[in-house]
Every structure is written in C-alpha cells, then in structure tokens.
C-alpha cells in the first residue's frame, strides 16, 4: 500500500500543484508585515490564519486537482481494467484521495512551521493552538474527497475548475451568511481571538469529526454508484456514515453563539500589568511580550494626565475583567500583537478618557463645531500629550487651540470641569478666555 501510495504521490498532479500552493502560502505568510500583522505574535490567530489560507485557497485548488486526477480513468482510458479489478472502488478512491491529501498536508505543515516561526519571534511563550489546525486538516480532507468523487462520477475537463470554484464560493457564502449553519459543515474559521478567546474545543472536534467521517462516506459513493466496480462492504461504510450523520446532528443541535468557533478565555489570576504613578494597564497573558512597551506607554499616559482627576487610571485590555479596583477603569484593544509604543500610548490615552453614563445622548455644541462636545475634551487631552487626534474642521480646531493656549492652570481647571460634565452628561464648561 505504501509503495502504491508513493507512486500515486509521485506521479499524480497534486505532486506539482501542492508545492506551488506551498510556495504561494509561504510567501503570503513571510511577506506579512510583522508590525501591522493581526496574527504574528498570537498563537491562536496564527493557527487560524494558516487554517484559513489552507481551506479557502489551497483546499479549493487541491480539490480541483483531486477532481482532475480522479477523472484520469476517463482521460487515460484505464477504466475498462480498473473497474474490473478485485480491489473495491472505495479503496481506489481512498488511494487517490490519500495521495492528494498527503501532499496538501505537507504544504500545510510547511505553512504551520513558517507561521509558528514568525509568531515565536514576537511572542514570549510557545503555546500553539491546535484545534483550528486540526479542523483545517479535516476540512481539507473533505474538500479533496468531494473533488475525487466528482472527478470519478463526472469525468469532464470542466469539472475540476467547477469544484474549485464551488468550494471557494461556499466559503464566501458562509462568510456572508454567518447564521446559516453552512460554516459548521464547511468550516473556515475567520475570526480574531487575540488573547481573550480560546477555541471552542467541543465544537471544533465535532466539526472535524463530521469532516473526516463525511470524507470516508463520500469516497464510497462512486463505488456504490458505478456497477462494474466492487462495492464497499456494508460493515465498512455504514459505521462511517453513522458517525458522519451523528456529528452532523450534533452540529445542528449545538447552539449558535456570537463568536462561532471561540469561547471566552478564563480570566487570568495574575495578568501582566504595568504601573506608573497613578496609572496602571493590564494585558491578557497572550500579550505578555508587550509588557516592556506597555510600561513605556503607561508612563507616557501618566505623564500626559499628570495630576488631573476623573480620568480612567486603571486600563485593561478588552474583555479582561478589571476586578475590584479603585476608581473608574477603561478598556483598550490591542489591534496587532507587535504593536508599537506610540500606538499603545494612543490607545491607552483614549481608554483613559471619561465616558458619558449609559443612556446619555451628547448633543453637539457650537464650540466643538457642532460635534458632541466630549470630542473636544479628547482632542484637548491628546493635544497636550502630543498625541494625534481627529480633526473635525476649522471651528473645532480653533476651540482646541483656545483651550491649549490658555495658561496651564486654566487648562487644568477647564479639563477638570469638562471631565465632570462628561461623566454627568452635562454640557461642557465655557472655553477659557
């Protein structure tokens, strides 16, 4: 079997297509800008991005390749003797499928190695997340199996590109119809988990079971449908079909959630935090590597806010439970795992701003150029911290200028009153003269 499989792998089209896809995927992963990347540095997102490229791009192409290879019986006119072989049609389909899948897995593993290498260069820990990778490998199996079946039953030159296009279109459809359930049966995990989410292992394992069992069942179809071919043994096919149906039923029964494939991570006992003066910021453990930058950013923010009162001085990464802390807390998102100090400082400063109470509808003010006047407070604080802020026209810029050119004590007094106004859902105080 190994020798025959090796022959198939050496001589089949997948042996040429998979290395090409491996190269394209490698370039895709290597050319990703580390500073801008939304996955390099986060293990879960690293697995997700490999899986996503794997199933959407590589899987679609290799499914088309499998379809082309499977139709060779017609093209090479080998059917008269392969169809009358003692070896059953299921085994023949499995051999073809395995030869393509193994090539695909080799490319997939290369992508995993590259992506893991890049993330290991940023992250402080080695903590691979396997579930999305397993799900991707299982989905690739199903995609290729469908290619083999279509190529065997409908051996036409048009079917190979049609199979590739079908899979790609299905993933697009699943992305545009998140509640349709397509995604559970044709999983392509397209989410960002950062450090606050972890894989929904039960769902992912159920979906992977569906993919693998459906692969086995689907591959039996040509042998059942084509008469001269020796059909599969019942006790071989039926258990596989039962497992596939059971997994499918479980997928239908499992409840839909806001995030289809993830669950909330447990709140850490000892999250990495940085404190300067009265300002403290904390991260999810997955971002522990950012702690030195966080320390500098916290120092920047603390310096910018100085002795001002009313700002959020306890800052937590999104979804991180602030726990019982004195004073108001703010929330910031880490958008890229290799985020720089400047960006981090800006995000912390934004998180430190007071928020109006829930239900408060801020009205536009003339002083702020017709915009909600808490925008003006944000702009003033950012201006003092030499941080960028949004520009809303000349009138707005003039208002900012009026505050920041006032004497420092007047500025501080105005800011203090403005903070109280925002928190109390009242109009801003008049601008300093």
């Amino acid at each position: 079997m190994i020798r025959v499989l090796w022959s198939e792998m050496r001589r089949g089209e997948a042996g040429r297509v998979a290395p090409l896809m491996a190269l394209i995927g490698a370039l895709y992963l290597l050319l990703e800008d580390r500073a801008e990347s939304d996955w390099i540095g986060w293990w879960a997102d690293t697995s997700i991005v490999v899986q996503l490229f794997g199933v959407i791009v590589m899987g679609s192409v290799l499914a088309a390749t499998a379809c082309w290879t499977a139709s060779r019986g017609q093209r090479d006119r080998t059917r008269p003797w392969t169809d009358t072989a003692a070896r059953g049609g299921w085994s023949q389909a499995l051999l073809l499928w395995a030869s393509v899948w193994l090539w695909t897995l080799l490319a997939y593993v290369l992508h995993v190695v590259i992506a893991f290498g890049r993330t290991a260069g940023v992250s402080d820990e080695f903590a691979p997340v396997w579930e999305p990778l397993l799900l991707g490998a299982a989905m690739l199996a199903l995609q290729i199996a469908v290619g083999v079946v279509v190529g065997t039953l409908l051996p036409s030159r048009l079917m190979a590109p049609a199979v590739g296009a079908f899979w790609y279109a299905l993933f697009v459809a699943a992305a545009f119809a998140p509640g349709s359930g397509i995604g559970r049966f044709a999983p392509a995990v397209d989410e960002h988990w950062a450090g606050s989410l972890v894989p929904d292992t039960a769902l992912m394992l159920t979906s992977a079971t569906w993919c693998l069992a459906a692969t086995g069942a689907v591959l039996a179809v040509p042998a059942l449908a084509r008469r001269p071919v020796v059909s599969p043994r019942r006790w071989g096919v039926i258990p596989v079909a039962v497992v596939a149906l059971g997994a499918a039923a479980a997928l239908v029964a499992l409840p839909e959630k806001a995030t289809p494939w993830a669950a909330a991570a447990l709140q850490p006992d000892d999250p990495p935090c940085a404190t300067t003066g009265r300002t403290t910021a904390c991260l999810w453990p997955a971002n522990r590597h950012l702690l030195p930058r966080l320390e500098r950013a916290v120092a920047d923010v603390d310096a910018a806010l100085g002795p001002l009162e009313g700002f959020n001085r306890r800052l937590n990464e999104q979804w991180l439970d602030p726990g019982r802390v004195a004073g108001e807390s703010g929330e910031f998102a880490v958008m890229t795992p290799d985020v720089g100090v400047r960006r981090l400082s800006r995000d912390l400063l934004a998180a430190a701003m007071p928020r109006p109470p829930e239900g408060c509808e801020r009205e536009g003010s003339k002083a702020a150029g017709g915009l909600p006047d808490d925008f003006l407070l944000v702009a003033v604080v950012h201006h003092r911290a030499e941080a960028p802020y949004d520009y809303y026209g000349e009138e707005f810029a003039a208002a900012v200028e009026k505050v920041v050119t006032a004497p420092r004590a007047e500025q501080d007094a105005w800011i203090g009153k403005a903070v109280e106004s925002v928190r109390g859902c009242r109009p801003l105080p008049g601008l300093p003269r």
Partner: protein
C-alpha cells in the same frame, strides 16, 4: 454433479469458464443471443467481425457485466455477489481492447499498481511484478515512463498487468491490433506461453493470430455462436483443411457468408 455440454466443452469438467444461455441486451439491441460456450485450458479464440458480441462476451467473463438471461460460471463458481466477484477477479486477468495507461507512471509503478488493484498480497507484490515484467521481456524497461513506450511495448505492459496476479483465466481483447508484423510474431509467442499456464480467451478478428496461437476457436456472428471447435475443424470447413491463416480465414468467411444468405452447415461440435 451433472455435466453440461457447452460448445464441446463440459461444464463442471475441463472448462475454466462456462457461459450458458447468456443473453445480453443494450436497450433494444441484442448483443448476445442465448450464447452457450465453455473455455478450457489453453488458448481459445473468439473470432468475429466488429459488433459480433466478442467484447460483450469478454465483459461477462471479466464479471464487468451480468447477462440479462443465462449464467456465467468462472473457475467453478457462479459469477455474482460482491464477495464472490471480488475473489474471482483476483484470479482473472484482463487486457481490454483499448488499453489505457497512466502516462507518467513508470512501467514498474504501473504494474505494481495493477497488482494492488488485483489484491496481490503486499509481500508477494514485488516478486510478482518482477515475474510479470520478465514474462513479457520488459524488465530492462521497468524504470521507463509509460508515455515513452512504443505501441508494442505498451501491449506487453498490458499483458504484464493482466498476468501479474498469476490468473487462471486471462482475457485478451484484440491484443495484436496496431502491432507491426514483427511485434505480432513476438506477441503470439507470448500468448502461447500464457496458454501453457492459464486459460486464455483471445478476442480477435485476425485469422493469422488464430491459426498460430489458438487451440480452439469460437466464431461469433451477430451475437450468436456460429462455430466452436478446434482450429483444425474450422479450417476443415472448406478447402483443403490446411491449418494456417488462409484456412482460418476461409472457414470464417464460409460461416460469415452464411449470415448473408447461405445458411452455413452445423459446424464443429
């Protein structure tokens, strides 16, 4: 066990394959009409024009098809049922009329693949492949890609894949078509060698092949058996009865002419 006389060969006796009263229809066309034939050890020719039903008969013998009526007994077993068919196919070798191959495979890989398809045990596979290639004198070309082979070489590889499972019944459908005279002579010797170890059923419309290779011959015309007997008996139907290509051709034309008007006499047994 009772023995049935099918075309001069006793079913359940010396017949390796027996077809009894087999009728095969393709929609409204009757491809085989109540055909009864037995195939003993040695080389048996199926002679007939295109469309006579030779390939259909071979498809019954290869278990690719079951007759609409009648029965097929192969190697002592009724052909039918998944498990039995699978076991029978392990003991049958087939070279189809239009022999297809995977052009990128090497000769050795291709025959190994055929051995796998025929359930040759993994432990024996390498030896059986080597034996099959040696039988057809292709050992020296075992690393050559299939697409690089000449027509004659491809036919020999076709034989190798058909015999790699050391079958007791070998079915060859027009194996010498397209070969040059020298290749054909070599091929006939090969088929004769095969006939010494297996029952070979050779479908052909080339009288020369029949005269030189076959022990027995059955003539099919329009889906019916018009003659079955030894090659000598066919040649004896007309002329001086000399066993050569001309004698076979004369005998065959005598039978075929009967279909155009003159009713041929009962021929052979």
């Amino acid at each position: 066990m009772g023995q049935v006389d099918v075309g001069g060969v006793l079913a359940g006796g010396d017949a390796v394959a027996v077809v009894e009263g087999a009728t095969v229809r393709y929609r409204t066309v009757v491809a085989l009409d109540r055909v009864s034939l037995g195939f003993p050890a040695g080389v048996t020719a199926l002679l007939g024009p295109n469309g006579a039903g030779k390939s259909t008969l071979l498809s019954l013998l290869s278990t690719a098809r079951t007759p609409n009526e009648g029965s097929v007994t192969l190697l002592g077993q009724q052909a039918g049922g998944r498990a039995r068919v699978r076991r029978l196919r392990e003991r049958i070798g087939v070279l189809p009329q239009s022999f297809g191959y995977h052009p990128r495979f090497t000769v050795e890989e291709f025959v190994t693949y055929a051995a796998w398809l025929r359930n040759v045990p993994a432990g024996d596979r390498a030896r059986r492949v080597a034996d099959a290639l040696a039988l057809v004198d292709m050992t020296a070309y075992r690393d050559r890609r299939m697409r690089e082979l000449s027509g004659g070489m491809l036919r020999r590889v076709g034989i190798a894949q058909a015999v790699v499972n050391q079958p007791e019944l070998v079915l060859l459908d027009e194996p010498t078509v397209g070969l040059d005279p020298a290749q054909r002579v070599g091929f006939r010797e090969l088929i004769e060698r095969l006939g010494e170890r297996s029952a070979v059923v050779l479908s052909t419309h080339l009288a020369e092949d029949v005269a030189h290779v076959c022990d027995r011959v059955s003539v099919l015309l329009a889906g019916r058996v018009r003659f079955t007997g030894t090659v000598g008996e066919l040649c004896a139907l007309v002329g001086d009865g000399k066993v050569d290509g001309g004698g076979v051709e004369a005998g065959y034309l005598h039978l075929a002419g009967g279909t155009d008007g003159a009713e041929p006499g009962e021929a052979g047994r």
